[in-house]
């Protein structure tokens, strides 16, 4: 499987990865110009944390080998796909218990901001047939994809 690697020392907090993710998951938009940045439905699946020294730490879903989120899922919505290795989330199956948010040891997951009815979860841009949008848009190569 592939995984997004992180070189935190290179991240300078420009949030391009957030913008790229928002766009990739906004149906019908083909560029950043299609985004309404005050639309609460616009969500990014990644986040930039600050550590106690103010250093940027990009936080991206690992699609873990033993995903805590999938273990916690009681509806079958969050599943580790054996073929691809991605942890896939099916919002139609989801029962909104959000135990996946509770059980992600890195605090990657969140309920959606606007309705609180589904989980905002990285899908590796698997539908886009190319490398994840965030990776493509990082200007400093702080994130990159490697086969693991």
């Amino acid at each position: 499987m592939k995984r997004i690697f992180i070189d935190a020392d290179k991240c300078i907090g420009c949030k391009n990865c957030l913008v790229a993710c928002m766009q990739a998951h906004k149906p019908g938009t083909v560029s950043v110009f299609g985004l309404d940045f005050i639309d609460p439905a616009l969500e990014s699946r990644n986040k930039i944390l600050l550590d106690s020294r103010g250093k940027c730490i990009p936080l991206f879903c690992r699609h873990c080998d033993k995903p805590g989120c999938a273990t916690a899922c009681m509806s079958g919505a969050m599943v580790k796909e054996p073929e691809t290795g991605y942890v896939r989330y099916d919002s139609d199956r989801c029962a909104q218990c959000f135990m996946c948010v509770m059980n992600c040891p890195y605090g990657v997951l969140k309920p959606d901001r606007e309705t609180g009815t589904y989980v905002v979860k990285c899908d590796f841009c698997a539908d886009h047939n190319s490398e994840p949008s965030c990776v493509k848009m990082c200007p400093v190569k702080a994130i990159y994809v490697e086969e693991v």
Partner: protein, 628 residues
Amino acid sequence: MTQRYSCAVCPSADKELGAFIADLPMETSFHRVESQEVKCGFGLTGVCCRLCANGPCRITPDSPKGICGANADTLVARNFLRAVSAGSGCYIHVIENTARNLKDTALAKGELKGKKALERLCDMLSISGSDDYDKAVKVADAVLCDIYKPDFEKMELVKKIAYKPRYEVWEKLGILPGGAKSEVFAGTVKTSTNLNSDPVDMLLHCLRLGISTGIYGLALTNLLNDVIQGEPEIRMAPVGLRVIDPDYINIMLTGHQHSMFAHLQERLKAEDVTKKVQTAGAKGFKLIGCTCVGQDFQLRGAHCTGVFDGHAGNNFTSEAVLATGAIDAVVTEFNCTLPGIEPICDELKIKQICIDSIAKKANADLKEFTYETREAVTNEIIDEIIAAYTGRRGAVPMNLLPEHGNDNTLTGLSENTLKEFLGGTWQPLIDLIVSGQIKGLAAVVGCSSLAGSGHDVLTVELTKELIARDILVLTAGCSSGGIENVGLMTPEAAELAGPNLKAICKQLGIPPVLNFGPCLAIGRLEIVAAEIAEAIGIDIPQLPLVISAPQWLEEQALADGAFALALGLPLHLGTPPFVTGSPVAVQVLCEDMKSLTGGYVFINNDAAESAKLFEDIIVGKRRDLNLP
């Protein structure tokens, strides 16, 4: 032990204010800091360029130049000069309006409260006239004539106002400014797409803007305001949210243009207005000072008794002032009028009126102040505010904080009042400096910002560190508002000073931090510095004086900073002004400037470390002057 935090707000040096804001039911700037914590590194370091459609271009090791070929130095210098130009433009707008108001007042033979100030100004500018009105018109014209000059014609008053050794340095460097407005224009044009690419030329242009800002926007604005609104007088005044009395119709003021309120403040006292107010059920009108124009009112409070009761707070205190519910209207004419006050005004039915279209707020009614229409506009404003009062009182909750602030902040300091206080000469102060009882001087000026350390945190902590080292602190700007609200400008604050400074303060009954008022008063501090230097017979850079804008916020502050560099002063900033992406800009601002003007920038966001750096600089300057 339980520690309760009501809200996700940024820290505040003023703990009472911080707790008050944390408990507010509405969102303020304090609440928004957390969500803006992750800053873009390109923006922070100044290496993002959006000047053309090829952009935005950002500088990285893999992309060291923009598509046009501009490198980090060009990008940074362009961005910086743009900011300084805008900041200078702000102050030049202020002096332009002030000069026009002086002229209009004089032409209409209106009240000029500062006769002595007019005399001094005429002396300084070598202006004579048939009477005070004639003189005032000529003074105003001289100022206006200068700022309207083209950029290839040097302004004339610079030579008359600036300290001579400084003028000579500027002349030698070729940075004497042409017409102040034209210099702003040039700064804007230079930095447009594919024009100037020379970082040094652009940084020197910043100095030119600094001089026009300092001499006109700062120093002259004070002096003209003194003529119109009267000179500062040293007195004790109440500060903080306690100055808000809900029995009155309260008008919060924000901005920088004291002269624009001259008519309003007199009308509020008029008998017919008082009658109207009492019919509406209030005891009268009160002006609640906020931001720098509030500092101006406080400084000249002796001339506005009965209507102005005190200064409530600085830029980021304004939301809290409104949230008390006891403010019925906000009258604004300039910055720092936060967009964030608008939803609060909506929620609490507070009338927003803007009297200068250049700072039009989205929610505000524009009632442009012009001298000709002042009667009608002022009456309209008064009627609308009374209507707002009637409509909102009882309909919105009160949330007062009467214990906030203090009643005995020393105010009214100026280059004249301080000298008079010292006995009409700077010698006593010079003696104290020479003897080492006062180690040196620090000007702690500028704004409050939230993102760096929290509201006024570095400003207040640095000030405490400095006075503890027997360094006398002079303030101008929103720093004054923050420092006074935490009590450092009360005589009791002497206890926090080092042993020598404490003894002096106790003997004189003064605080260890002297409040010169608004950011405009940086111009007054420059006059104080120049007069002391002159009395000693040295140039300004030789003085044991450091200037700091620990929590600079705005482009205006950058123009002020450029003035400090032109004056040759060591300039401390808590956070860098979006230039650190350029090695050339850093080298010029922090090192090479020393050999040009004598000034330089140093950055530190830790109060104790910064104070130590101040002390080291002051000790070094003392050594150079052969002082103990």
